[in-house]
Symmetry: C2
DNA sequence: CCACTATATTCACAGACCTAACAAACTCAG
DNA sequence: CTGAGTTTGTTAGGTCTGTGAATATAGTGG
């Protein structure tokens, strides 16, 4: 009797790239180098299928043979790897105070990175499109790669959005973005496919998994100017009905709590987000450098103070961390993940303060699970969203059937 | 240029039943009656494929032709429907104070329902297996259906579980269930495939979608003895890494809140769950019938008082509802669903009190989304979990490749 | 009764993927 | 050094799914 309940090890809802070619490319990319035998195990395809698919990928110049493995008593394995220079993608992360570009090769490695000051408060979206297009072109030119190898551009920004339609709501600093279909405009302007994604969701896609064991279900807790999260299942991100899943910054953690820009009250972001942390620090008289310094830059100044022994700064951040820990607990309860990664610019500068607080809460609220959720810090937090945007583009159909 | 971003209308993570036969069966089942042309649109398959697949299903006795549609200028459509009597599945919902059985036919309709008093506090799991096996057999016999047509049994219970291994943690009333692989024991005892699922997750699968527009991403907020939720994507439930996704009852909604049986503090369930509501009502001196009456029965007594004008009962329930609304807000923020259904025995008796409170909060915390999440009450709340368990069994591979 | 239209089917074919048999490249015992 | 043994990878042939093009079916309206 075949037991139905043996369909284990999947999150119930299995992404299953229907396309074997994409499956092979993905498997090689995430493994680094693999042999064909290993691919049969990873993908579940038979050896002949792997042979055929790999041959085509080699013929198309997307995959290379990369020497031999050592023998284990028989023919040594022929190792395969992605031909990194075969294609490229660009990832762009826009936030109010910075604009981050990354150029990612076909193997998924970052080959160029460029951070610029943000377009500033409430700038004209059309002008920003022009600027991004120009800077993207410049990034590609200066990298010395063949522009025709660039497959597309992933664009991420904060704030809720309607997939394929644009931002629907935005923090006070970016109100003119509401309803502006930026990815469409970028497509027209650059002549490249573009995708639009929420920063936190993209960050989940951009996180490198460095854990020992297999992680198929993971989430990213993302903090930049706002707080968000993303869920990743076997490499695919979950976007929700309208592309706004994971808005952990706007769950209510305190009845009757402060008003949030989103219209609700008691939101995690309003209570413990970077903007609030900065406001508290200023109110406490901390010196954050220039009084014009805002956003993540100001938050980073607080983190530096805390890390150099300023107890007031530390107390403010620890308080924020205790609230973030509630958000993390919500993520693990709702998503049931194996791994939670703290990422984004804010965690990149203050992660070491937040991490232990969050870990402790996850441990103590583990709900009697046999397996505890691991919580780690992303070492690429600053660029995770941009990298994730690029990787999402890379994983799209278009990037494989070329 | 093919635009990658045009892969819209999916929640990012697409379940895509790889099996076309299953896809056709599912489509017919959820549509009720459809023609082949409509199936080509729904499934994306070509007309010849639909023809072939449908012919086989008819040959196998799983699908029937059901008359003609009206002509729109040409040949009228031949309507198809699931042959309801082709197969059956059983769903069982165990909670501390009740045991619910449903027999569901191949079309997904409930053909028999049986509710019995629960096995009582902390009873021996082996004895409960015996009882469930005996009562399942009796249910099938009394229904007069051919027992060989029963495909399997879906079993749901509260509490976190490890998929395929059994319950890992349980409320105080059911501690002896921890680690007991009940679905395996039921499989052995009944000679039928069995699956084990969380009650709230199953309820999401068991909810009938009665909304006008297409709903591909929905969640269930489930309240029985505890509080949970389930996420359903195009008919498939999301289970998470260990089968414990959606534990909204154990998110923290109040820092420093009361201790919960799960080991954490400030959990939604500890603050506003039925057990707490009952305790508050008793403390307030409300007459809930027999003092031995516990669980949902006691909760139902409070609901009856509230609905017949007892203002103290109503106040207690409204307070609970305001907390549940936070949970609902968390669900919509984390999952980004089109529809949220309130279901489970507790909502079945008190839903009309909870619904407006929850709706109001979802509206006011809608986060500037273009589309608001609809919140409705499930009219089958009492049996939703058992029905869902049966439907999940029905949708399993085994149920189709027969 | 005859065009016209929408629905459904037949047929030949392309492609994906499988099984089975085979070839290649190493190790190691004698 | 040689050949058996082992592991890796390929070739050949077949099955199955699903497709496009052409065709059959069953209505409507003039």
């Amino acid at each position: 009797m075949q037991r139905v309940s043996d369909t284990s090890r999947s999150p119930g809802y299995d992404p299953a790239p229907t396309n074997s070619r994409a499956l092979i490319v993905d498997s090689i990319r995430s493994a680094g180098t693999v042999s064909r035998v290993e691919l049969t195990q990873i993908t579940g395809l038979t050896a002949p299928s792997v042979t055929t698919l790999v041959r085509r990928l080699i013929d198309d110049g997307l995959v290379d043979e990369a020497g031999r493995g050592s023998s284990t008593g028989g023919k040594p394995r022929t190792m395969l790897r992605i031909r990194a220079a075969a294609r490229y993608v660009v990832g762009v992360h826009l936030s109010a105070d910075s604009l981050t570009y990354v150029l990612v090769d076909y193997a998924g490695a970052v080959v160029a990175r460029w951070r610029r000051a943000g377009p500033g408060d409430d700038s004209d979206p059309e002008q920003v499109v022009e600027r991004i297009a120009a800077e993207t072109t410049e990034l590609i030119e200066r990298s010395g790669i063949d522009a025709s190898l660039v497959l597309g551009l992933g664009f991420v920004c904060p704030g809720p959005l309607i997939r394929n339609r644009g931002v629907t709501s935005a923090p006070p600093s970016m109100t003119r973005w509401v309803g502006f279909p930026i990815h469409r405009r970028l497509e027209e302007r650059l002549g490249l496919p573009a995708l639009l994604e929420n920063d936190a969701t993209a960050a989940a896609a951009g996180t490198r998994l460095t854990t020992s064991h297999d992680v198929s279900v993971m989430a990213a807790l993302f903090m930049s100017e706002g707080i968000g999260s993303g869920l990743r299942l076997n490499g695919n991100v979950y976007q929700g009905a309208h592309g706004n899943a994971g808005e952990v910054g706007h769950i209510c953690v305190q009845i009757g709590g402060p008003q949030c820009w989103c219209g609700s009250t008691g939101c995690l972001e309003a209570i413990a987000g970077p903007a609030t942390v900065v406001a508290k620090a200023r109110a406490a008289g901390l010196d954050l450098g220039s009084p014009r310094r805002t956003g993540v830059a100001a938050f980073a100044a607080i983190a530096r103070l805390a890390l150099t022994g300023d107890s007031r700064a530390e107390a403010i951040l620890r308080d924020s961390a205790s609230w973030l820990a509630l958000g993390a607990q919500t993520i693990t309860n709702m998503y049931d993940v194996q791994l939670l990664v703290l990422t984004g610019p804010a965690f990149a500068v203050a992660g070491t303060i937040y991490l232990p607080v969050i870990q402790e809460r996850i441990l103590s609220s583990s709900f009697g699970r046999a397996v505890n959720t691991e919580v780690v810090l992303d070492e690429r937090g600053h660029d995770a969203a941009a990298i994730g945007a690029a990787l999402m583009m890379l994983r799209s159909e278009r990037a494989i059937s070329a």
